[in-house]
Assembly symmetry: D2
Homo-oligomer: 286 residues x 4
């Protein structure tokens, strides 16, 4: 399914299980849920054959005894990684630079409760987007990188983010490369929108690269950030056709419409607990 509800009904709980595959897994798990008298709204499973790993996402309706349920599941599946989410809005902080389109998209969706997230603050290395952010009643912090080492600047940004203790940090067109030290603490919680169809045009000014190469399609990629630049697990991608009449600037401009929709879509996937990260890939129950 290509579409993600902006918000899953807050009432539902979401059970997330991952473990080595073995016969009878579904039987054992559904047995526990049945004995707890839980109504399954939706159930998705997948087995990664490459390493026989089992993934399951189950939407449960109504009241449940979370602790008892988790305990019984863990007793039944000692080897499994089990999580029960109440699917409440996630707390997030946004990092931006000068381009407004992704930030605008998220601020508007946030203002109309379409993001299943709470934007706690926006941090930027420029003042440019301060007014827009404050206009939506969100705290804006400008931390200029001017005359600072990368380390010094990252520490400052880190401290501000730290004050908000967000569950996720979103790079909504943050145009600085982050060091592994910055990235590490946010494993699988740091999401970036890259303005190209990865792995094409890794790194800086991908639209200039696309223009030089004379491609006929450009794209955008939302992915989790890991230590290697633009190498993290891909969440969502989308493309748009271009041709010889486009300058690099026109490609960039056109790409923005794709970037903001892809980023918003990937956030809805992640925030509605639909994304498992497995090795360097994502398993997504859309």
């Amino acid at each position: 399914m290509r579409i993600v509800p902006a918000t899953t009904p807050a009432s539902s709980h979401i059970l997330l299980i991952r473990c080595p595959d073995e016969p009878g897994l579904i039987y054992k798990i559904s047995g526990v849920l049945f004995r707890h008298g839980l109504n399954i709204l939706r159930n998705d499973e997948f087995v990664e054959r490459a390493d026989n790993h089992f993934f399951m996402r189950t939407e449960l309706a109504g009241e449940l005894a979370a602790e008892d349920l988790l305990q019984e599941l863990r007793t039944t599946l000692p080897a499994a990684d089990i999580r029960l989410s109440d699917n409440r809005p996630k707390n997030i902080v946004l990092l931006v630079t000068k381009e407004h389109h992704c930030l605008s998209e998220l601020l508007v969706r946030h203002a109309f409760q379409e993001l299943n997230a709470r934007i706690l603050a926006v941090v930027s290395n420029y003042e440019v987007l301060g007014d827009l952010t404050r206009q939506f009643g969100i705290p804006f912090h400008c931390v200029s990188h001017e005359g600072k080492t990368r380390e010094a600047h990252e520490v400052e940004v880190q401290q501000i983010i730290g004050q908000y203790a967000p569950e996720f940090v979103v790079l909504a067109k943050y145009m600085r490369i982050l060091s592994p030290e910055f990235v590490l603490p946010y494993a699988n919680r740091l999401i970036n929108i890259h303005h190209s169809f990865l792995p094409a045009f890794v790194g800086a000014s991908p639209y200039a690269q696309a223009y030089e190469r004379g491609v006929k399609i450009i794209g955008a990629t939302a992915h989790f950030v890991n230590e290697q630049l633009d190498q993290g697990p891909i969440i969502a991608q989308s493309v748009i056709p271009v041709n010889h009449t486009h300058s690099a600037a026109e490609m960039a401009q056109a790409g923005r419409d794709v970037e903001k929709i892809v980023l918003a879509r990937s956030l809805r996937l992640v925030f509605s607990e639909r994304v498992f990260v497995h090795h360097n890939k994502t398993i997504i129950f859309e």
Copy 2:
């Protein structure tokens, strides 16, 4: 998932279950499968909330005692509609008129075992596509409609099809309207490719209609045929952009690339047992 393997491994069995939803269904079913020591390769479920109907498709590996399994499942779920498919290639007959593109596509895929079907014969109301069909070693029957009533012509066509006793009949650009009498015996076994993005441009010469309307996108729709023209359950659709420079003929020409791919895709979905028909819609586990 948007992609359909051309052929599911012949070894696997596919279990198809539909019944009113109730708590514990998955538990009961997976219990039976577990006790039979069956290995689940893939499992898909869906509950249609509009009428609380449950649908499940399970790919099973290896040998199994079909009769015992079915009996135990039917005892466990008396209200369910249960089917076990050995997923062998389906026997089909194609109906065509003059356009070659859909027929060519299916003959080529058939020749290279990509269709999970056996084309038993091709029937047409013209001779035009006879050479192409015979070239691929498939029997071709021309039944002209000239000087015959619709009824008389359909009876002739029916008789030829009847000799082959196909599981499915595919209208691969068969440009005559079929009577309910013809359609009825093939409920959910008669598939048509309509050269428009239904429900836009129902009926004849949709490209002429699209041209007149000045649309910017045209499409194709593969669907099961029922008594009402172009009203049957939709299996797959796809589109392609057009603009003011296209004549109706150019739109038709461009549409052919979409038609043949959509038809081939819908056949692979149906022939790999991925499609449930429920009321006037399809539920598809891609």
Copy 3:
């Protein structure tokens, strides 16, 4: 080309010519431009063969003697409809009801000068979107239709719009049907976003219709409004795949991302003088 620069360089002039086709048209026109020493940045022509009508759009650089140029062109092509645009931002008024997504998209683009238009005011039959509009510093007028005849309500809306004397009126999800009396004065200046892939699902609640029909793709259509509901010249269309798991509400939600992008795109096409309306179609030089 599928991409439209958000704003054409304000410096350039755009020459728009339409007339019955005849030999030597390009020669005659380019001759006038050459004698005026004008530099052609870009030139597009099209001849509609259905009625042999010629359309030409030329981007001219630098200073020019508008009156002289027009006079000479009109003398050279007495039968032609000739217009010279300085391509300044268009003055527009938006009509909305309760949904924010199209309005948000236009307000944000407007705030960052990406629309090649000045939003003079927003008029709605509800208060819902007042805060959002005022937040962007745009006047908001609420004209409730409660307890008024359609005529009476339209007259009120008309009067408010009239005060701003806009060049274009945009229906950014205005959910009331407009009478021919309202529409007529805005021939080719009134743009609507329809939440379906026209001509499929004309009229009310297209997503409910799409859900009932079980389509696999939904779309949006931006078009000029004429006297007949949803029958005006189409400017742009786009689509998104859906499937059996989507409720009508989820289809509507997904459709919003398509609607706002298609509307913004169609406005950029119209506001950059790329769209000719010819009979009930558009000729677009993208």
Copy 4:
């Protein structure tokens, strides 16, 4: 425009002009055409601003004195590269290896005169596709590479191609890397379909690479071949969504539908004289 007529009416001539941009070019050229009393069916121009180069494609109707026309144009534009095509079907030779899908697509289109080309022969390093080719009445040459140096093998292939003196050579899934010596003589006349969305996944087994990277979209690229592997001017690209459920083999299978359509589309563009190669890019008047 995204659609290419399979064949341009054979009656029409196509004038192709490229030269450094200067004021009055269109005026001068249209003047010559006007004095020759030629009817312009369609005219496209483009100016590459990066190096101010002018490109023009003009479809002319009816009889014309080719030599006189060319002479006068060359006198008028001494610096221009001018070509006049009678748009007859191109003579081509196909190189293939073992996969049938691109070859099948071209053989079928050729059989129904949809390619604006004559397939003179098919050359392969395996026998696999011999029957299919001969079935369509096309000569098939198998030149095994077994126990030969790349050079020796290429010389053999070259000699066979040479006998047919084709205007274009098409690599329809020819899975061997060609040496610059082989490529050089066919500058801008050698077209390849690469089974990835270039520049992503250059080189061998791109689907395996795509699977490893966990991309959500795969694609295909048709391009002219130059000395550097997969670096030549891109003609057409297309994509298809994939997800975590796809094995590398399923991605490859799905990609084939994209590959064959993209290759056929690029050939129609090239064979209808719509493609200019400029530096390492294509300028395409669709």
